[in-house]
Amino acid sequence: MEWFPNGIWAYAGGGVLIGLSVSIIYAGTGIIAGASTFLDSTLSYISGLSRFQDYAASRDWRIVFTFGIVVGAMVYALLFQEGTWTTAISWPRLLVGGILVGIGTRLGKGCTSGHGVCGVASLSKTSILNVIIFVIVAMGMAQLMQAIGAMP
């Protein structure tokens, strides 16, 4: 079995860039930037529910951060990608997956960037435990999807 059939450099390089991004924001502002709080903070513009209003103070910079993420990927695509790329994953999987991700990341206080990168980098026990759980569950789920023939 080959562990990295597509090589390691794009992965390692991308990972270093993600780490650098977290680094420059932390060094400059003291903020630890995760991606999923954007969901709560942005809902505070349209809903008065206390859960969302608790994040209202950070909602402006989180929109800027998310907009930066979209533009950064766009810059990559303009430089190195031919045309647009679209997924072949069916819309029910995207929708159901999205809903579960929304509930899970906000209930569990973080996602692949908040817990997976920033939390692990802080050696936070809560984050490391959360990451171990979601990786194991996701592997089981993804392999179940494969076993029942949901392709891709």
């Binding site: 990295f4 597509n6 794009a10 992965y11 390692a12 390089g13 991308g14 990972g15 993600i18 780490g19 991004s21 977290v22 680094s23 932390y26 400059g28 502002t29 003291g30 903020i31 930037a33 954007f38 206390s50 402006d60 910079w61 800027v64 907009f67 993420i69 979209v70 950064g72 990927a73 766009m74 810059v75 990559y76 790329w85 997924t87 072949a88 995207l94 997956g97 999205g98 579960l100 991700v101 929304g102 509930i103 899970g104 906000r106 209930l107 569990g108 996602c111 960037s113 939390g119 692990v120 980098a121 802080s122 936070s124 809560t126 435990l129 959360n130 569950v137 996701a138 592997m139 993804a142």
Partner: protein, 146 residues
């Protein structure tokens, strides 16, 4: 000034996600299905670089130059929601191969169907907020009934 820095940080974050193809749910699924362990390298390299910065910055300085926030690491509090949330997130991640940051970046490479997933994420987040609100409303009544 700090807004500009956060935008620049977002740019680098999104570029890194696209370079490592985490913007493609299929590549994330190939990690979860043990066909290509690249995602582990992405997370490992990112954590290593960020961890080194967290350590060094805190060793030499106390306050951030922009905004004057003191350098802290937040240890998120542990409770059963961290476990339940992790399980639910894992189910969603395994079904679709998408997570929040990578989904935003995926828009940037022209993957318009990802809007369905992002809509789902907002729906899920809203459901959770609404459910917590209902529970808080009912809590005092429960106490009276006891």
């Amino acid at each position: 000034m700090s807004t500009l820095l956060i935008f620049a940080g977002g740019l680098v974050f999104g570029f890194g996600l696209a370079l490592s193809r985490m913007t493609q749910p299929e590549v994330v699924l190939s990690f979860l299905q043990w066909d290509d362990f690249g995602l582990g390298l992405v997370m490992g390299a990112a954590s290593l670089v960020a961890g080194l910065t967290f350590h060094l910055v805190r060793r030499f300085k106390q306050q951030a130059p922009l905004g004057g926030k003191s350098y802290e690491l937040r240890e998120k509090t542990f409770d059963k929601n961290v476990i339940i949330g992790g399980v639910i997130f894992g189910l969603g991640w395994g079904v679709s191969g998408i997570c929040p940051g990578a989904a935003y970046a995926s828009l940037g490479i022209g993957n318009w169907p990802i809007l369905i997933a992002i809509t789902g994420m907002f729906l899920g987040t809203y459901l959770l907020g609404w459910w917590q609100f209902k529970r808080e409303q009912q809590a005092p009544n429960n106490k009276l009934n006891q």
